[in-house]
Symmetry: C2
Subunit: 307 residues, 2 copies
């Protein structure tokens, strides 16, 4: 096994992921847990990090680079924001060192859009963008990053120009668990209903103002015509994603199409959604993107130490 060079951490709102990485960027060990910002704020950020470092037997001198919500005001140490228009290169230079720790631990900043009519913030996605697009990418990119809080980002010549957050994932959870629609989806199995999903994406894309009506239809349809809970769940998901796509695609789409940075089930759903609308979307693995972004940042920050 090669020598470990640093530890990379993606510390989100509800998830924690850690990688032990060597000089060449190869992953030597990995940890995943549900100890995101919300859990870590209770357990203590240093304790959570240390437990994972101990589990992979990380040497004491090894530096740690963190991106994500650990840098929020309500996180570990506030890491501030790079303001739009935000060169991705600036993310590398504004990492904040966690004080009072023997180990060199740094947290990357987020990006803020200080526009009173469209205020917005991201934390973690800037590192995925870095990994997916690189520092030197010329030309225009429109990036869709699905999630609890999906981001749609316009990047030009390595600069984040504008972005919008859509709380699509969180709306899906709230709607399917906390409203009358919980009755419609109760007992839904894992069976997919791609036809229901695609039909809902199209209907929502074509008439986004009817979103609160499309959602309720999942219940009315069951009452009047029957239908499986899985079909209702896919209809809710398709409706919310279709409305997001109607907004995200409302501006100009670059000739090169959309970059879809996603992982797991969301990658599958959004690929199907773009397919339903006959829009060209190039998938990029989100896990790989964030790891590559953290590697680029680690190399830039600790180059003096010859990582």
């Amino acid at each position: 096994m090669t020598e470990p060079a640093y530890v990379a951490v993606d510390w989100g709102t509800s998830s924690f992921r850690l990688w032990l990485v060597d000089r060449a960027g190869q992953v030597l060990a990995e940890r995943r847990s549900g100890e995101g910002m919300l859990a870590a704020a209770k357990a203590g950020f240093p304790a959570v990090l240390q437990s994972h470092l101990a589990a992979i037997e990380a040497p004491d001198h090894l530096p740690v680079l963190v991106c994500g919500m650990a840098g929020a005001k309500t996180g570990w140490v506030e890491a501030g924001y790079v303001d739009t228009p935000a060169p991705l290169a600036a993310v590398l230079t504004q990492a904040v060192r966690v004080p009072g720790q023997a180990r060199d631990i740094r947290i990357l900043p987020g990006i803020a859009q200080r526009d009173v009519s469209a205020p917005d913030v991201m934390r973690g996605e800037e590192t995925q963008l870095l990994g997916a697009l690189g520092l030197e990418a010329m030309g225009e990119a429109l990036v869709c990053m699905p999630g609890t809080h999906s981001k749609w980002v316009r990047v030009k010549d390595g600069v984040v120009e504008r972005f919008s957050t859509f709380m699509t994932g969180e709306l899906f959870s709230a709607v399917s668990q906390e409203t009358i629609l919980s009755l419609a989806v109760a007992g839904a199995d894992e069976a997919e209903d791609i036809a229901s999903f695609k039909a809902a994406v199209k209907a929502a894309y074509e008439a986004p103002a009817f979103v609160a009506n499309h959602l309720f239809s999942a219940r009315s349809r069951q009452l009047l015509f029957g239908g499986a809970p899985a079909a209702a769940r896919e209809a809710l998901s398709g409706t919310l994603i279709g409305v997001e796509l109607a907004a995200g695609l409302s501006g100009s789409v670059p000739q090169t199409g959309i970059r879809l940075i996603a992982a797991g089930r969301l990658a599958v759903l959004y690929r199907l959604a773009f397919e339903a609308l006959s829009v060209n979307a190039h998938p990029v693995d989100a896990d790989e993107a964030v790891r590559r972004g953290l590697s680029m940042a680690a190399a830039a920050i600790w180059k003096s130490k010859d990582l």
Copy 2:
């Protein structure tokens, strides 16, 4: 005090209202409680009704007419639906008698739109429509009925032609209590922020596809620019109502404008919303409408008994 002639009950999902009414339609006594369908399904519908009848000392022979969710499949006795196109007069003739009760208790049917591409149901609103428009109303009306599940209804010459349910009220509750936006509205006082509300209505009306982004902005705005929780709450409310109005007003609006059947705070909010869009809306009190509708139905059902 004049003789009571019948008891009218509006039995919704989460609210129960009862009126003791005389031959002339005058209210002699009133009861309100939170024992809607959900609570009554546990406590038992006969017991809940009887407790309120006892409280107003209603004579044993007095008939009771019920509208609303008590007639749902998950309610007391299923009262079926009149299908669209649904003459309001048909609602009067299809009441279902509750079996096994000494007292004459009847539940009015709802209205169903059995259209596979726009399935929808209402229970209770048909009685409000009856009271607000009457049986003989000629011409076309576009009716907005705000609520947990808002209804937009097209009525022509006394016939409900089409309608759409928007789960605007329930979305507001879920979004402001069960998502990250709960942080933005936490501690909001009763102070209104009409400017925030109207601005959100307009923004959502103009770009309804951005609904999940407009909602998240309430949080981003606070993070980047500060602002009171009440402003965030009004922004959420205005966003969801603005999107509903974008859909409701997307078809033709009759020359006579919109009929707004609403009560309490929703009546105020929707009046402000229509005002923000410079749309002419004629307010009708929802409580009065449902009472009048129940009176019309009671007179039609028990005319043989010379109510």
